[in-house]
């Protein structure tokens, strides 16, 4: 975990002081709401339907017990006892008073946290693989680069008023768990022929109104040049990104309109300038200095198979099921990563109560080297747990209602806040997620269906990433009524694809039945349990699904 030094502490303290002053000027009326809006957005404060929302940055989703406990305390003191984990690995409080924000930022600063750049037209919180440091398939720890990027992008004087928001994600594994191809910049950490680190650089991915898969602009950028190259990309975007229409302002549109070759040429040209000055080149020892913060904990030498765990599994079917679904192989024998599903059947996806946060904090301290991650699928992860400890961890999670064994199943749904909170929404997302989860809640049925990602957005802004859901659901407004459009075949991983719209939308009453029809069609047509929904869809195309959905309608 990165730890602040004196410099970092002073920076955050100064920023809190600055925002305190801005809030005071807003409350005194010196700043109009219009003048204040971009300032509060830079600091994660949104005005929602019913109250202010504060979005707190969790850099690349990394937390520890101290931070989690503080978030719990803030939830209890200033909100309604809950927090909402987001698809950008952040945390939102949905019921905040503006007057309280400076105090909350002060509380966060004490545990080395802040809300800087969690919204606004700037470089947002950098995200990374939630299994970083634990994944067997990573070539390096992507958090090292995410942290360097976080620092460089913090209150960047040139890039704080971009045409639109800008998101960066980093993965270091071939299997992309960070959805880098739907980010403005996606970085794939790789090793070159001599074992040296470099990056494949993808630019111009994004969801929203015009979903696009990113294009690769560099196959192997040397490690030392990471910041120089990103600065060049951002400068080209800042200068030439469209500012006449906010729906056409993301870098993906610039790339689309000018062509990837032209933009790549401009980036390279600007990059030569930046590199020539050399100030942003990363010296080896400085990368190592950051990497040291992410050094692996002292793992024990353990057998790959835990007798304790196997015995416990034999006695407890619930544990066996949990391990089969929510536990992932670790790079070190005898260890595993545990996914804590925040998708209990019938609960709002991504929500956690203060008590649950505290329970996870206690488990992390006792059994998981004090590390917790937030995944972009709105779950929590304990990256390093001994197999021997899984039975106790499972019991503790059960006590906190956090042991739902559905990671990656059809009920592990991503949903944006939707009409329950968001002023831009066309339709509710959370209740639809809850109803789908209830329909498919039977464990045997979920098991039979296997891997299936449903993602729900309450409007075209696509915060619920519906375009990359195997089944995507988009809330639309039809003559004042909530309707839902369904897309199929999307995926956010290394085989990234944008889902296709199957046909006309469904009313709120119909949408859960429609999902069931799709699932039943898949079960009927698949070549066996080994063929996942996505694989079957890619083989069959949308025709059989469309037929099943719309046959009766004629």
């Amino acid at each position: 975990m990165y730890r602040y030094d004196e410099f970092d502490r002073r920076f955050v303290a100064e920023r809190v002081a600055e925002f305190r002053d801005q809030v005071a000027r807003r409350l005194s009326g010196e700043l109009t709401e219009d003048e204040f809006r971009p300032l509060r957005l830079m600091n994660g404060v949104y005005l929602q339907l019913h109250a202010y929302m504060l979005r707190i940055a969790i850099p690349y989703g990394s937390l520890n017990a101290t931070k989690l406990r503080r978030l719990a305390r803030i939830a209890r003191t200033y909100d309604r006892g809950f927090g909402h984990f987001t698809t950008r690995q952040n945390l939102q409080f949905n019921w905040i008073r503006l007057e309280d924000v400076p105090a909350i930022l002060g509380e966060l600063a004490e545990v080395e946290m802040h809300a800087i750049q969690t919204s606004g037209n700037c470089i947002r919180n950098v995200s990374a693989d939630h299994f970083s440091g634990a994944a067997a398939d990573e070539v390096a720890d992507p958090r090292v680069y995410a942290e360097i990027l976080r620092q460089w992008s913090s209150l960047h004087p040139e890039f704080s008023f971009l045409p639109r928001k800008f998101k960066i994600a980093v993965t270091a594994a071939e299997h992309d768990r960070a959805a880098i191809q739907v980010h403005d910049i996606g970085l794939h950490v790789k090793r070159g022929e001599a074992g040296e680190i470099g990056f494949s650089v993808y630019v111009g991915g994004g969801l929203g109104r015009t979903p696009m898969v990113a294009k690769k602009v560099r196959d192997f950028l040397p490690e030392a040049e990471l910041l120089s190259y990103c600065e060049a990309i951002l400068r080209v975007y800042n200068l030439y990104g469209r500012r006449d229409n906010k729906y056409k302002a993301r870098i993906k549109i610039l790339l689309h309109e000018a062509g990837v070759d032209e933009i790549a040429r401009q980036i390279e040209e600007e990059y030569e300038q930046v590199r020539r000055r050399g100030v942003l080149l990363l010296p080896r020892e400085e990368i190592d200095r950051i990497a040291a913060y992410f050094a692996p904990p002292a793992f024990e030498e353990l057998p790959a198979r835990s007798v304790t765990l196997e015995r416990a599994k034999a006695l407890d079917a619930g544990l066996a099921e949990f391990v089969a679904r929510n536990v992932t192989t670790h790079k070190v024998p005898g260890y595993a990563s545990v996914t804590i599903s925040l998708k209990a059947i019938g609960a709002p996806p991504g929500d956690a109560s203060a008590e649950q946060m505290e329970a996870v904090a206690a488990i992390a301290e006792a059994y998981a080297h004090d590390e917790v991650r937030v995944s972009h699928e709105q779950n929590l992860v304990l990256p390093h747990v001994r197999l021997d400890d899984l039975p106790v961890v499972y019991a503790a999670l059960q006590k906190a209602d956090l042991a739902t064994p559905n990671a990656g199943y059809i009920t592990d749904i991503i949903a944006c806040p939707g009409l329950d909170y968001c002023s831009l929404a066309n339709a509710r997302s959370i209740p639809v997620a809850q109803r789908i989860a209830e329909r498919f809640g039977d464990p045997a049925r979920q098991r039979e269906i296997g891997d299936l990602k449903i993602k729900i957005s309450g409007c075209i802004n696509a915060c619920g990433h519906h375009h990359v859901g195997h089944i995507g659901i988009l809330g639309v407004d039809r003559k004042g009524e909530e309707f839902y459009q369904i897309t199929l075949g999307g995926s956010g991983d290394e085989m990234c694809s944008i889902g296709e719209i199957v046909g006309k939308g469904f009313s709120s009453e119909e949408v859960v039945d429609a999902v069931e029809t799709i699932v039943d069609t898949y079960l009927k047509l698949r070549q066996g349990p080994g063929e996942t929904f996505l694989a079957a869809f890619r083989r069959l195309g949308e025709a059989p699904f469309r037929e099943a959905l719309y046959a009766d309608a004629g």
Binding site: F11, E18, D21, E35, P157, E158, F161, R243, R277, R289
Partner: protein
């Protein structure tokens, strides 16, 4: 309107030429980029300070070779949320070695002043009363610890022994 430079409000000695005005033979004048390009040859013989206004959408194309001729570059911020001029400022300073006055005009507000300084802007045309008061009181952004090398060494400096991308604000211009 007030011009803030080198730590205080000063008299503006530059004349902003209106479209219908002819170029006078002496005195410091400021022209728009389009007019400069149209009259570039004629202006070459003129032996008095020359300034240019570069709108955010105009960029530096076509004047790269002339930049050393200007003693003033004015970068308008039509809206403070339009951040293009920050890039233009840094390119002028860092890529073209421009050392003359670099002035922000338009929607110049106290909450952005620090960003402007950091990008190499060293003069501000201010109309916003709250911003004028804040500059007079020395109460612009309290953030003096920075995570990226940007502006000029006079504005911020490296810290010995610290991460090389960190900077600390020196004095403001």
């Amino acid at each position: 309107m007030a011009l803030y430079k080198n730590g205080s409000f000063v008299e503006d000695t530059w004349r902003f030429l209106a479209a219908e005005d002819d170029v006078p033979s002496d005195g410091a004048i400021v022209l728009g980029k389009a007019r400069f390009l149209a009259e570039r040859e004629a202006l070459a013989g003129r032996n008095a300070p020359l300034g240019i206004i570069i709108e955010p959408g105009e960029g530096l194309a076509g004047i790269e070779a002339d930049i050393h001729r200007f003693a003033l570059v004015v970068l308008p911020f039509p809206k403070y949320t339009d951040g293009r001029a920050y890039s233009l400022a840094r390119m002028l300073r860092e890529e073209h070695g421009y050392r003359g006055e670099l002035r922000a005009s338009g929607n110049v507000l106290r909450d952005q002043v620090r960003f402007m300084w950091r990008c190499g802007i060293d003069a501000l045309e201010v109309t916003h009363a709250g911003t004028i008061a804040a500059l007079q009181a020395g109460a612009v952004s309290p953030v003096t610890h920075h995570y990226q090398p940007a502006g000029l060494e006079a504005v911020e400096h490296r810290l010995a022994g610290a991460r090389p991308w960190l900077r600390r604000a020196a004095a403001h211009p």
